[in-house]
């Protein structure tokens, strides 16, 4: 009957029905007064009848602060009647984080592809030499790949949870995706703390070589050698790598901190803190993934000779001269250049041993 009077509303009472009631409550004194005065016939002044309900609702629904009460149900935030930040978080996640995050990742991928097509693989101009420089120790390589493996696992599981509903459910179906998401959640939770451990190990191992020094500004101004011709001399790590390291440490620290807040809801942290943690976790991880995508690109297909240091521990002398000139010169001064065959022998590479060509090489640098 009532619905027939307001057909366009339909279910419109919806979640705003509390609001309508609120208006009704606030208006009701006036309504009552008008009827009462009409009945009595007296010309009375309007009497203010404060309605405590209206005050209460105004208080708990106010948007600038959370009214906290008391509840016999004891758990985190049980005294909070209405948490207005919940809806803000929802809007952030659904209308900003997921779409823009998706565009960001897709854009970075596209950018890398375009860059690869335009610039191609960055070659070692003077060709790969037969001389090597020792670059990363076994321990350094181990913790790097440990961090890398954990990061990749966390990134994939996190992305499944973030984009799965819009991208995967239509393909694999809800039930299978639920299975996948549960596995992702448990794996993400379990491996998260390990990321912190690996990050700390990497930080202490590499921090000394990553302190900014003279020449880094020049590198930045010349765009790392990407703009124009010629390589910019740099030390063991160049300005870009140093920046990536500090990004990894600082952003990674935020990721670890916010992740720990989210994964251990045992310290009575409230929803607002968790929402903030989730926001920062989402933004920082996307930034991190984008930067690491660039890191993976330049380390693998993007540059010739860049991966060797991290896999074998030895990098090519010419590559070092072109990309880390100061360091290469220092190594040459200190007689740390090693012949390729020596490296092969050290690594027990049987193929290289069987090659007699090593005999023809000059010995001693």
């Amino acid at each position: 009957m009532r619905r027939a009077l307001i057909p366009h509303k339909g279910y419109g009472i919806g979640d705003d029905w509390v609001f309508y009631l609120l208006i009704l409550i606030m208006l009701s004194p006036l309504l009552v007064m008008s009827t009462a005065s009409a009945e009595s016939g007296k010309n009375t002044q309007p009497i203010q009848i404060p309605n405590p309900s209206a005050d209460l609702w105004r208080e708990v629904r106010q948007r600038d602060a959370i009214a906290v009460g008391n509840s016999q149900v004891k758990s985190a935030d049980s005294g909070v009647l209405i948490n207005p930040y919940g809806d803000k978080w929802r809007n952030f996640r659904m209308t900003q984080l997921i779409p823009y995050g998706g565009y960001l990742l897709a854009g970075m991928l596209l950018l890398l592809i375009i860059f690869f097509i335009v610039r191609g693989r960055i070659k070692v101009v003077s060709g790969m030499s037969d001389k090597k420089l020792f670059r990363y120790s076994l321990y350094e390589r181990t913790i790097h790949w440990c961090l890398a493996a954990i990061f990749l696992f966390l990134a994939f599981t996190g992305l499944i949870l973030l984009f799965g509903r819009s991208l995967l459910i239509p393909i694999v179906g809800q039930e299978f995706f639920s299975l996948l998401a549960s596995a992702s959640k448990e794996g993400h939770n379990l491996f998260g703390p390990l990321f912190a451990v690996a990050l700390v190990l990497v930080f202490f191992r590499f921090v000394r070589r990553n302190i900014y020094q003279k020449g880094d500004l020049t590198w930045l101004l010349k765009g790392g050698g990407l703009i124009g011709k010629g390589h910019v001399p740099s030390n063991f790590f160049n300005m870009g790598e140093k920046s990536m390291f500090w990004m990894l440490v600082l952003v990674g620290g935020v990721i670890v901190g916010s992740g720990l807040v989210l994964v251990f809801p045992v310290f009575g942290q409230g929803r607002v803190l968790m929402e903030l943690s989730h926001v920062s976790h989402g933004i920082t991880t996307l930034v991190m993934i984008v930067v690491i995508m660039g890191h993976i690109y330049i380390g693998s297909v993007g540059m010739e000779g860049a991966l060797d240091g991290m896999t074998t521990g030895y990098c090519d002398l010419n590559w070092a001269k072109e990309h880390h000139e100061q360091w290469a010169e220092l190594c040459e001064e200190q007689n740390e250049v090693i012949m390729e065959d020596e490296v092969s022998r050290l690594q027990g590479d049987t193929k290289a041993n069987s090659m007699p060509s090593s005999l023809t090489q000059e010995t001693g640098q």
Binding site: L138, Y139, R141, T142, I143, W145, C146, A149, I150, S178, L179, S182, A183, S184, K185, E186, G187, N189, L190, F191, P193, L194, V197, A198, T311, G313, L346, Q347, G348
Partner: protein, 213 residues
């Protein structure tokens, strides 16, 4: 259908292969016998065997310093793995239902998670060390990688199934564990049992020669 197979017959088959295989391997090692040692023993062999069996748990000083990473990672992995293999609540329940018939006190859940974390970081570090170190890479055979891979996959699927709410995830974990059980007796993973024999043999031989090793 596949689930019933994994949960039922395949499990008993795998467990049978494991038990019989391990017994067969150990018996064949014992039956191989020892070379006769004609020298006059300087000390009792069995005491040395026993001592070495336990003293080797503490690495020699040079090993402990130069191979610090592998020692730490090795202990993390093995202790974590045993803790969660034997004392994790779901495993205790499984063992008591399927094998022993009685249960024993399980670790609290948080300790189970902590031991899983330790086992994972240990295994990752050891695995990477094996791949990256030229000597261990040279020494490693396909057998080692299959063993590591299976153990890692069993641990990973176990961790993915932590919610204990999705039957397929549990079955995947169980299936990989069954593969591991079948693979176990015929691989380097037998070191879980044979380490005792090799240590005891070395200890006994050395003790007979009067060498403190």
């Amino acid at each position: 259908m596949i689930g019933e197979l994994i949960d039922g017959p395949l499990w008993y088959f795998a467990f049978g292969v494991f038990v019989l295989g391990v017994i067969y391997r150990i018996i064949s090692i014992l039956r191989a016998g020892l070379k006769k040692d004609f020298s006059r023993p300087r000390a009792e062999g069995s005491a040395g065997a026993l001592r070495t069996l336990f003293s080797r748990f503490i690495p020699r000083r040079d090993v402990a310093t130069r191979g610090r990473l592998t020692v730490i990672a090795g202990y993390l992995f093995h202790l974590g793995l045993f803790a969660l293999l034997i004392f994790a609540q779901p495993h205790v329940t499984f063992f008591s239902e399927r094998i022993t018939g009685f249960s024993w006190p399980a670790l609290p859940y948080w300790a189970f998670i902590v031991s899983a974390e330790l086992a994972f970081i240990g295994l990752l570090l050891l695995w990477l060390h094996r791949v990256l170190h030229p000597v261990t890479r040279l020494l490693s055979s396909i057998d080692d990688y299959v063993g590591i891979g299976l153990v890692f996959l069993v641990m990973l699927t176990g961790c993915l199934a932590l919610a204990q709410a999705f039957e397929p995830l549990r079955l995947l974990h169980l299936f990989l564990a069954e593969l591991l059980l079948i693979y176990f007796p015929f691989s380097n993973l037998m070191h879980a049992f044979t380490f005792a024999f090799s240590r005891a043999y070395t200890g006994a031989t050395m003790a007979r020669k009067g060498v403190n090793a």
